[in-house]
Every structure is written in structure tokens, then in C-alpha cells.
């Protein structure tokens, strides 16, 4: 059962990144859309993510439940030393989720809509930024469990160049995923073109911030280069991601949009694999050089077994229903 829960954990993180990420990205796209096109973007977006966004959000809950039930040490270490970015991310989640629903269900459409929109787009930016910062901090080796003063224990653990670079990289990846997703959802050619432009813009951003992640890793002593380039699987993932990126650009420029989603999802998956594979099963790097690994901190066997069964049975109930939801609302209205 060890493997089952680890696979589910990885899958939940990946799916939150892909689906939740596209969801955050939709807000990021809106943020980077000129005022005059915003309402069109918003309309496409509401239709595309309206039915599925609550479900997308659930992958985060699954991730967190797996962590605190099966890997309590990881969950509590993150909770204590990354308290501040976690709290900011939570504020983002609260603001974003409620603003999205409020603007959709307010019975009167007036200037309040602008308030909801503002809250929605800024929190769509802040949430993945801090999500990325948290992910970066886990790998950064800045978490200092021996620190005695507030700043080193609770601020420098996440406020460093590497974490911030990962945060910005996450934001652009989310924007990229969303743009690709929305290309497929838009009906008018003009909308399609606009989202293609956005996808290109976000992709360039991702490459720039991706480079920043590596540069920061070099200066902050994060062995990212070793993980990515001295491990066969990780190296293969990078090569595949690069090849698919070339293909993706070719298709984008040709205006062929059919397989874009698969390619974009594939790329993001490969990036996650490349960064985390060599590090696995270690999860948190601490400042004193220790690591907290998934295996060492796993809960007692009975807990792991019952969680494993709950996840397997749960997914039998969830996945067909979820698949049908995506299928049903993908069909374009005539």
C-alpha cells in the first residue's frame, strides 16, 4: 500500500497543477488582458471553467489529506516553517473561490462586478505564486529547524531567490496551461488568436523564469542541475519536454490547435518529473543538510492501508463521474 498512497500523492499534486493550474491561469490571463478584451475573455472562461472549477480545487484537499494522514511529519514541518506563505496562499484561495462565484451569482450586475473581478484576478496571481514559493521552499534547503529567531525560522525559510523564482515560474506555467486550454474552448477566430498570443507570451515567460530558477538554484546551493542532468529519467524528461515544446510552437504558429492541450499537459508533467524524480523519495530539504523523506516519515502500516483503500475506492467513485463531467461540458454548443 506504500506505493499506492505515494502514487496517489504524486497524481493529486500533478492534477492540481494541471487542472487547478489551468484554473488559476484563467485569472492570470484575465489580468494580462487589455481592458477592452477582458469581458470577452471572461465569458469564454466562465463557460470553460465554471462547471469544473470546484472539482479542480479538490485535488488540493486530497493532497493535503494524504499528507497529514500518511506523512504527518512533512505536513507539520511545512505548517510550522512555511506558515506565512501558506496563510497567504489560503487567503488567495478564499478570495479567488468566493469572488468567482460571487461575480457569477450576483443577481444584479453593477459596479460590484468590477470589485469581484479585481479580487479574482489579483488572487489568481497571488495563489499560484505562493504555491510555487512553497514548493520551491520545500526543495530549497532553507528550512531551518534549529533557528532561534523569528526571521530565520519563519521568513528566510521561504523568502529567498530560489523560492521566488519557482513561484514566478509556476505563475507563467499556469497562465500557459490556461491559454492553451482556452484556445480549444473559444468559438470565434478572433478569440482563438488572442489566446494563441497569450500562450506564446506565457511560454516565453516560462522559459525566462525557468532560467531564473536554475540561476537561483546555482547561487542558493540547490543541487537542481545534478537532479536534472545527472539522472537518466530526469534527463529524458527534459529532452522530451524540449522536443514537445518545439512541436507545440510549430503547431501554434501554424494555427493547428487540436493536440495542443495534450502537449502542454505533457510538458508540465515532464517538468515536474525532471525536478522531482532524482530528489524522490526525499520531500523536504532542511538547512542542516538533513532531508525528510516520504518513506521515513510514513504513518503506521494500518493507517497507510486504510488510507490506500479509501483512495482506491474513492477513485472508483470519483473518476468516472469526473470524466463524464469534463466530457459533457467540453461539447461545444451549436
Amino acid at each position: 500500500m506504500d506505493f499506492v498512497i505515494i502514487i496517489f500523492l504524486c497524481l493529486a499534486i500533478l492534477l492540481y497543477f494541471l487542472l487547478g493550474g489551468a484554473d488559476f491561469g484563467a485569472g492570470i490571463i484575465e489580468l494580462f488582458t487589455s481592458q477592452k478584451n477582458r469581458s470577452k475573455t471572461r465569458k469564454t472562461m466562465n463557460q470553460a471553467i465554471g462547471p469544473v472549477w470546484e472539482a479542480n480545487h479538490m485535488w488540493l484537499i486530497i493532497t493535503i489529506v494524504i499528507l497529514f494522514v500518511a506523512f504527518p511529519k512533512i505536513y507539520t514541518t511545512m505548517s510550522v516553517y512555511l506558515h506565512i506563505p501558506l496563510a497567504i496562499m489560503l487567503i488567495g484561495i478564499i478570495a479567488r473561490g468566493t469572488a468567482f462565484v460571487f461575480r457569477h451569482y450576483d443577481a444584479v450586475k453593477d459596479q460590484m462586478q468590477e470589485v469581484y473581478n479585481k479580487i479574482f484576478i489579483y488572487s489568481s496571481f497571488i495563489t499560484p505564486l505562493f504555491l510555487g514559493i512553497i514548493a520551491g521552499s520545500v526543495l530549497s534547503g532553507k528550512i531551518d529547524t534549529q533557528a532561534t529567531d523569528f526571521v530565520s525560522a519563519y521568513v528566510y525559510s521561504w523568502l529567498n531567490w530560489f523560492s521566488i523564482a519557482v513561484g514566478l515560474f509556476t505563475v507563467t506555467l499556469c497562465g500557459f496551461l490556461a491559454a492553451i486550454y482556452l484556445i480549444g474552448e473559444s468559438k470565434a477566430d478572433e478569440d482563438k488568436k488572442r489566446f494563441i498570443k497569450k500562450a506564446e507570451f506565457m511560454n516565453v515567460g516560462a522559459v525566462i523564469f525557468g532560467a531564473m530558477v536554475f540561476t537561483a538554484a546555482y547561487f542558493e546551493d540547490v543541487p537542481l542541475m545534478t537532479w536534472v542532468f545527472q539522472n537518466d529519467v530526469a534527463l529524458l524528461a527534459v529532452i522530451l519536454a524540449s522536443l514537445s515544446l518545439v512541436l507545440l510552437w510549430y503547431l501554434l504558429l501554424k494555427g493547428k490547435t487540436k493536440v495542443l492541450r495534450i502537449l502542454a499537459g505533457f510538458q508540465v508533467t515532464m517538468i515536474l518529473v525532471a525536478i522531482s524524480y532524482a530528489h524522490f523519495p526525499n520531500f523536504i530539504r532542511l538547512k542542516n543538510g538533513d532531508t525528510i523523506s516520504l518513506y521515513e516519515t510514513m504513518a503506521p502500516i494500518k493507517t497507510v492501508e486504510s488510507l490506500g483503500w479509501a483512495l482506491v475506492l474513492g477513485s472508483f467513485l470519483i473518476l468516472p463521474f469526473l470524466g463524464y463531467l469534463f466530457y459533457k461540458f467540453q461539447q461545444k454548443e451549436e
Binding site: I61, S79, L86, L90, T98, F102, Y105, T303, I318
Partner: protein, 445 residues
């Protein structure tokens, strides 16, 4: 404000907020499904409109409930890391099942809200039912996890270590059934009265009376039936608490001295320093009866419990009084309503009854919050009853007060916006649902 108090306040605030939103999100889908069923069966368009109007409320409350629930799953670690480190693997089972239930609820809600005219009509109706059932299941599971804190089970605590963990035994702890039953009935009662009250108000204002009367009837049926059943569940809970947590029962009744037989105190002013209660109405032997089903039984008072294990007596006692008082009042309103039904009198002719329902709008939620205070404050100073003290579980991070202030502002603003949104929804009923307005009088004649 010290960090411990701030952490407790923030947790209380978050839970207090979440409980209301989660309960509405859990109960309203059932109302919605009934009205939807009536629309499919009778083809009366008013029922379709009610379903649509309620579904918007459900969407707003579900989203608010979901984000505040997410917040809580993180706050358990952010505020009580030492608790979660040990408790996570033991009481995590209901949470992992709840994840599934909540996920299904979110998917079903997507189908329901966006499925009008897109899905087979009965499948569409079914997704609404799934929202309700899975929501109720999540509620029960979360309460089961809380019940574990009151009645720890499924592990052996030996020399500070948590051994022989059995998550299934932890989930089916001794308190789960009585707590879940009490909470579910409370959710239906509170939400039923609130919804019925809002529609009663609109009937009194003579706006779309037919729409509001039909909606009122659905909500009031759930509310009154559950309100009448609640005292039975309360009795089960009281007997359960007497057995498991004598300190909580003693605090609920401000029983400072062990007595045989013990009287039931109604109201009263508690003086925690002198350990006395003044001005209370005493019913001899009634507490013995409530706790053990026998008027002569001995009830353990706080004198038999070490002083450092006493819960805050005044808060627990007052909260208990409020809960029971309001509960009785709601039973009374329900009985009045049943009496009118039996005599086949239209409630529309009796404006004072409608006014009673309007008064009851917030009451159920006040009782619900009070009941939750009894459960949680009555458990103090323990976070895991008899095993871990709350003080030992708090995060080492200083400055929690700031976090508490920040989240207070956020929750307060959310409340304001949600009330504002609901106000606008209700106000727009005549515009959004262009039914010919049937006046109250015309209907009643």
C-alpha cells in the same frame, strides 16, 4: 493577546464561520431536490423557479463553505502542528473518506448548476440529490473526526507514545454517532427555519406570494420535523457525555459539587471564583434523570475533577442554556405549526405565525454555534480528551495574534458580502422569475 489565546480564537472563528456555511451548503440541496422533483412531476413552473433560485444560494454557500473548509484543513497544521503530528494518522480516516464525499459533491454540483437543458432531466435531478447526500456524508465524517477528540479511540497511549493505531476503530469512536446525529438534525433545523423565515418575510411583504409560500412549505417541513426530533437526540448526547466526559457535563450544568440526586439548573449567573451559581431555577433530580435515566443517581461534580482539568464553566454553562432554550423555542414554534396543519388552517391567514418564523431566522444558527461551544469549550483543557492538552499542541510560531486579526477581517468581510448577495437575490425574485404574482389574499380565499 498571547499566541495560545490567539490560536484558539482563530480556530474558533474559522470553525464558527465554516459551520454556518457548511450547514447551509449541506441542507439546502435537499430542499432544492424536493422542489426540483415537484417541478418534474407537476410541471408547475413556480417549482422550477424556486429550484433555480435556491440553487444560486447553494452555489454561493457551497463555495464559501468549501474555501473555509480548505482553510481549516490547513489551519489544523498551521495552529496545532503537535496535535496533527500524532493525531493525523489516527483520526485521518474520516477525513480521507470525506475527501471522496466532498469531491463527489463538487462534481455533482458542477453537473447540477450547469446542467439545465443539457442533461437528461432525471439525471439532472439525480445530480442534485447526489449533492445533498454526499454533502451530508461529509458532514457526518467531519463530525466523526471531531468526536474522536472528545472520545479518543483506536490507539494505545503508552509513555507518551501513540501505539497500535487502528484508524477504523478511531473513526467509530464512542461519540461519533450521538454527535453526528445531533449535528445533522441541528443543521436541518437551523437552515430550515432560516429559509422558511426568509420566505415568510417575503410573504408578509406580499411579493410573489405563491413562489414564497411554496418555498416556505418545503423548508418548514424539514425544519419542524427535525426540531421536534432534536430533543431525543439531545437526550442521547447528554447520557453519552455523562458517561464519557463528566467534566463537560458538570460544566454544562455548572455543577460544582457532586450531588445525589442532582438538580437541573436553568439559567443562573455563574461565579467562577466562588464556584457558585446564583438566580438559577432548580428542578430537583432532573439532572440525575437526564444523565442516567434515574431521578436518584449521583452526578459527578467539578469537585471530583482536578482543578487544572476544569473546562471554563461559565462559557460552557451559558452556551448550553442558550442552546437548550432556543431548541425548546423552536419546538414550540413547530408544535404551533403542526396544530394549525391539523386543524387545516391556512398559515397565510395568521400573520403572527409568519412573524414567529421571521423571528426564528437567526435562532437556529445561534443554537448551533452555542452547541458547538459546549462541545469544544467543554472539552478544554484537552485537545485530545485525557491525552493531550490544547496548550501543548499550539504552534511555536509567535505573532499568531496578527494572523487572528487578519482572518477576522477576512471572515467579517465575507459575511457582509454573502448577506449582501443574498439580499440582492431575494430582492430580485420578482424580476428574475417573471411569474404572475398571485396575491396572498387571492390564494387564501
Amino acid at each position: 493577546m498571547d499566541d495560545f489565546l490567539a490560536a484558539r480564537s482563530q480556530m474558533a472563528l474559522s470553525l464558527g464561520f465554516h459551520i454556518i456555511y457548511a450547514c447551509i451548503g449541506m441542507v439546502m440541496p435537499f430542499f432544492m431536490a424536493v422542489s426540483h422533483y415537484k417541478w418534474l412531476r407537476t410541471k408547475n413552473e413556480v417549482y422550477r423557479d424556486i429550484t433555480k433560485a435556491w440553487s444560486k444560494g447553494v452555489a454561493i454557500f457551497f463555495a464559501t463553505g468549501a474555501v473555509s473548509g480548505t482553510m481549516l484543513s490547513f489551519e489544523l497544521g498551521l495552529l496545532w502542528p503537535k496535535f496533527m503530528e500524532h493525531a493525523g494518522p489516527i483520526f485521518g480516516m474520516p477525513f480521507s473518506l470525506e475527501g471522496t464525499a466532498f469531491f463527489i459533491e463538487a462534481i455533482a454540483l458542477g453537473f447540477f448548476l450547469y446542467g439545465w437543458n443539457k442533461l437528461n432531466k432525471w439525471f439532472h435531478w439525480f445530480t442534485g440529490v447526489v449533492v445533498g447526500v454526499s454533502g451530508l456524508a461529509s458532514g457526518i465524517l467531519v463530525v466523526a473526526a471531531n468526536a474522536w477528540m472528545n472520545s479518543p479511540a483506536g490507539f494505545d497511549f503508552v509513555n507518551g507514545e501513540y501505539l497500535n493505531i487502528d484508524p477504523i476503530a478511531a473513526m467509530f469512536n464512542k461519540a461519533w454517532f450521538s454527535q453526528a446525529l445531533h449535528m445533522c438534525l441541528a443543521a436541518f433545523t437551523a437552515t430550515g427555519f432560516a429559509v422558511a423565515g426568509v420566505h415568510a418575510l417575503m410573504i408578509l411583504r406580499k411579493q410573489n406570494a405563491d413562489f414564497h409560500y411554496k418555498a416556505f412549505k418545503i423548508a418548514v417541513t424539514f425544519a419542524t420535523v427535525c426540531a421536534v426530533l432534536q430533543p431525543i437526540s439531545g437526550d442521547i448526547s447528554a447520557k453519552d457525555v455523562a458517561k464519557r466526559q463528566p467534566a463537560k457535563l458538570a460544566a454544562m450544568e455548572a455543577l460544582y459539587e457532586t450531588q445525589k440526586p442532582a438538580p437541573l439548573l436553568i439559567g443562573g449567573v455563574v461565579n467562577e471564583k466562588d464556584k457558585t451559581v446564583k438566580y438559577a431555577l432548580e428542578i430537583p433530580g432532573a439532572l440525575s434523570f437526564l444523565a442516567y435515566g434515574d431521578f436518584k443517581s449521583e452526578v459527578k461534580g467539578l469537585d471530583k475533577i482536578p482543578a487544572d482539568e476544569h473546562p471554563p464553566v461559565a462559557v460552557t454553562h451559558y452556551a448550553f442554556q442558550i442552546m437548550v432554550g432556543i431548541g425548546s423555542l423552536l419546538v414550540l414554534i413547530s408544535l404551533i405549526y403542526f396544530a394549525l396543519l391539523l386543524r387545516k388552517k391556512s398559515i397565510l391567514d395568521r400573520r403572527w405565525v409568519l412573524k414567529l418564523f421571521v423571528l426564528a431566522i437567526p435562532l437556529g444558527y445561534i443554537a448551533l454555534e452555542a452547541g458547538w461551544v459546549v462541545t469544544e469549550v467543554g472539552r478544554q483543557p484537552w485537545i485530545i480528551y485525557g491525552v493531550m492538552r490544547t496548550r501543548d499542541a499550539v504552534t511555536p510560531m509567535p505573532g499568531i495574534a496578527w494572523s487572528f486579526y487578519l482572518f477576522s477581517v477576512i471572515y467579517a468581510s465575507l459575511n457582509v458580502i454573502v448577506i449582501f448577495l443574498l439580499y440582492r437575490q431575494i430582492k430580485m425574485v420578482p424580476t428574475l422569475y417573471s411569474q404572475p404574482a398571485v396575491s396572498t389574499q387571492a390564494k387564501a380565499n
